[in-house]
Symmetry: C2
Subunit: 335 residues, 2 copies
Amino acid sequence: MTVRVAVDALGGDHAPDEVVAGAVAAASETLVPVLFGPAGLDAHGLELVACSETIGMGEKPAEAVRGKPDSSLVRAVGAVGAGEVDAVVSAGNTGATLAASLLHVRRLPGVHRPGIAIVIPSRRGPTVLIDAGANADARPEHLVQFAHMGVVFAQELLEVSEPVVRLLSIGEEPEKGNQLTLEAHALLAEADLRFEGNTEGRSLLEREADVVVCDGFTGNVALKTLEGTIRSVLGALRDEVSASRRARFGGLLARPAARRLRARLDPDTYGGGYLLGLRGLVVIAHGSSSRTAIANATRMAARGVEHRLVERLAARLPTERREPADVPGETPDRS
Amino acid sequence: MTVRVAVDALGGDHAPDEVVAGAVAAASETLVPVLFGPAGLDAHGLELVACSETIGMGEKPAEAVRGKPDSSLVRAVGAVGAGEVDAVVSAGNTGATLAASLLHVRRLPGVHRPGIAIVIPSRRGPTVLIDAGANADARPEHLVQFAHMGVVFAQELLEVSEPVVRLLSIGEEPEKGNQLTLEAHALLAEADLRFEGNTEGRSLLEREADVVVCDGFTGNVALKTLEGTIRSVLGALRDEVSASRRARFGGLLARPAARRLRARLDPDTYGGGYLLGLRGLVVIAHGSSSRTAIANATRMAARGVEHRLVERLAARLPTERREPADVPGETPDRS
């Protein structure tokens, strides 16, 4: 089976060079990256679909997507919707990727809001965090659906047979939280899920759960705090170690150990998150993606296709009463 | 000047032993801890005020405070309100400490909601995070007041003459955030503050601002993620280092460096947060406080008194139209 993955060559802080290099690195006999970028871009032998526009990181998502139909981002996402490729990766404007996906890939039947699912590499194995930033404001029922989507992800890609779900909050007790989490807690407890209550930010790297669910604002703050703290601590340790000769020598001997840890905790190792709840496979990579991150995100997209993640979600999400489309800019879903 | 600090001997996971030991360690010629706990408690020579009740960590705050007037927590907080001591420290139920403070210490005129201000020890110096957990749900105008309180804290205790304020959100751009932060951003930009826009979780340890403002839910998630990540990373590093003999030897040589870093980043170094916006000085310590944390929290309380933090807040908070009391259980403030 050959998987074709559209790669938005103009998305991200280090586009196009690092993006192209990452796509080239990910290419294999079974993985065919297709670059979307300006005509004349050196595609290093990969297929290039020429686009005439670019969406910047600071542009307003809905406006940008409507106003720039020939942008690399919209065209790459559109190729998934049209069935021309099997998946798409973009490290560009997250809001615009979301808006383009809602418009051109569309939601699975019954899905209120797509959510970004990312993998946190804990000491005891991976944990899925969902939503990591697609919905800055969410309602309790959205969190329940994120939980179901996270469970399918954990089962299909992480091979956890009965994933444990927890709600990210500010205390283990059910009565700790804000209005959103208090209501979500009650709904999660009634849902057909292996829900084991609240979890706290301090446990994110300790794998208290297979799936941690939250709104996109909280998830994004937690994720960035996690990543920033890992970087700051390892950086500070390097500074401390290089401050004395004895410690410097010790640090040299311990370096392979530190490097293993750094590799495990490096966000580039996963490279991106799945935007779950759509009729096609969309991977959102970090804005600051290096070539390694892009390569891993591209492989992650291919793995999602191979594991038929979208089909499994479609088959296994509990069907509920459909609420009216409430996402601005979206084509109403008539299914 | 002698400062008398009430210490809730029954508050926290390691009460009373670690709490008493911490209070004993903090005692000096100018700092007199006063223990509030059961009659017969070994106070190691400190003054003991006997109380007959205890509030547990899981109890509902408002009910517990009303139903247990002779609890160590309520009595210790009440002693500040009555002017019998200069400050109070509790590592007990945070919600109950907040409820008791609203009832017995009361808010400063014009303050909507007290906020927990904690110090994050970044590489380049301390950053004040407010609110770290007093208000799980907050309104935009509350965040503006937290900012003003954080500024007074930074000026008086951290000696920053013109503190830079930032809003914790999910992107640097003003249009990134949830409904709360978008509205708060607009208000902060108009306020008499040195407001420099949004900051992200990844920068919390990099001191992008002197004061970082957020609602209590977000602040608590970010703080616990930060603390948990520091602990996980240092723990994982120790595991990696002890996995090979060469690295073990290296780790031994580098150990003093790692220890310095650990000491700087250890939450026990500050030991607690100020509950700002009240007519008296209340310090909330971690539930898991060790004796070191309690000792540091007690010293922190005394320092707040010496620096006349409450008086400075009363004098310098911008006066605004007073909104009706909206905190359940609070005695309406007629001032």
